[in-house]
Amino acid sequence: MAGVQVPIGIVNALNPLSPWIGVLVTLGVWSFLYKENPVFRICEHAYVGSAAAHTMVTTFANNIKPGLVVDIAQNGEYWRIIPILLGCMIYFQPFRGYTWVSRYPMSFWVGYNAGYNLTLRVAMPLLTEVRRTMLPIFVTNNGRFDLATSINNFIFTGVVTLTLAYFLFSMNVFKGRAGFMIRTARLVLMAAFGAGFGTGIANYVSLLIGRFDFIMSDVLKLF
């Protein structure tokens, strides 16, 4: 399991190529902005292949290898063979006639997670969030009425209540004048989605700037 060591000379010889490979694959992916082309498709497939391999390698290095080498071989915890066999049962899924075998690990995971979520691990954050939403509407600061914080707390509590009402109750419950509540809820939700959208764009643009910075500054040394 120790693996074959690649001569460090090969790695040292390859390392200077790394930034140029980065530039080429970045330009290859961006070439999609012109139109779909073979270079983009190659980069796209290389991305999927390397991402899948990285997931496998990470799982092997962090889970499978220590489990086999340390826990079972060194520490003699042979009970760990049972969950290994359970996990391997999922590989029956592609085989017609034996697909039912894959239900056992799946039901184990579903049951475990259902039970896990029904404990304080999920209930406690929920209660904390509810408690943090119960904000005082009349806030005093050094004995004086704090208008700005009071208005903010009122709006905050109102938006949470409206959002919950919009999603938890059927639209038909709110007819007539109560429909105003739903329309307001939709309005504040759209405003919140607008804020999320704006923040999202800012994040993606910062990624784009990072890529430009990598090409112009780190590799081409223009700035």
Partner: protein, 209 residues
């Protein structure tokens, strides 16, 4: 039998976790911590290859049957096996220099490039969807504009009030709506968990039918 046993496994595994989470019963707490929790980590780890296996199967078929654009399947499988060989068979960990070369050259850069590509599409989506046709879409448009202008240094240079408004929108309106959604999602999760535990929800047992 093929349904009753999986449902029983679900119920037993879930109930052990529920009891472990709420009650102090020595042997159950011990069993959950020492055996059940590691069992999930181990079994999930060993099952992680299913996705890779499906990927290999799909792209091998593409190549074998010479389907449309099957040449790209060679690239995908080539990268997959190259990195897998470097990471698992050659050196056995993710910090090995040869694996790190492939990871930092290809995976990191491709990932950043693909996600940065999204910014162009988001801007394009803005252009097509940001129309003030109703009060709701106007609210989205105005708030998104304030948030974008307020979060860049140019916005603060234009008018000092933009970052203040952006901060207020994010801290009060956005946080409140997200909290409302979060509470709703958690309540939904809890109800779904109960349905899974008692066997009302059986979507995960549909394999092979």
């Amino acid at each position: 039998m093929r349904r009753t046993v999986p449902l029983t496994i679900s119920f037993v595994a879930g109930m052990i976790m529920v009891i472990d989470g709420w009650l102090k019963i020595g042997f159950i707490n011990n069993f959950a911590t020492r055996y059940l929790m590691p069992s999930v980590t181990i079994s999930v780890g060993w099952a992680a290859g299913l996705g890779a296996l499906n990927l290999i199967r799909l792209h091998s078929r593409n190549i074998a049957q010479k389907r449309l654009n099957y040449q790209y399947s060679f690239v995908l499988l080539g990268f997959f096996f190259l990195m897998l060989t470097c990471g698992v068979f050659l050196q056995g960990n993710t910090t090995a220099p040869f694996y790190q070369f492939f990871y930092s050259s290809f995976q990191v850069n491709l990932s950043a490039a693909v996600y940065s590509l999204n910014s162009f599409y988001l801007v394009s989506a803005c252009y097509r969807t940001f129309r003030a046709r109703s009060w709701e879409s106007t609210a989205l448009l105005v708030v998104a504009c304030f948030t974008m202008i307020g979060s860049v240094p140019m916005g603060a240079a234009m008018w000092g009030g933009f970052p203040v408004i952006q901060n207020w929108i994010v801290k009060v309106i956005n946080d409140a709506a997200i909290r409302g959604l979060s509470i709703g999602v958690t309540l939904g999760t809890l109800s779904q968990c109960v349905r899974n535990l008692v066997g009302i929800e059986r979507g995960h047992l549909q394999a092979g039918e």
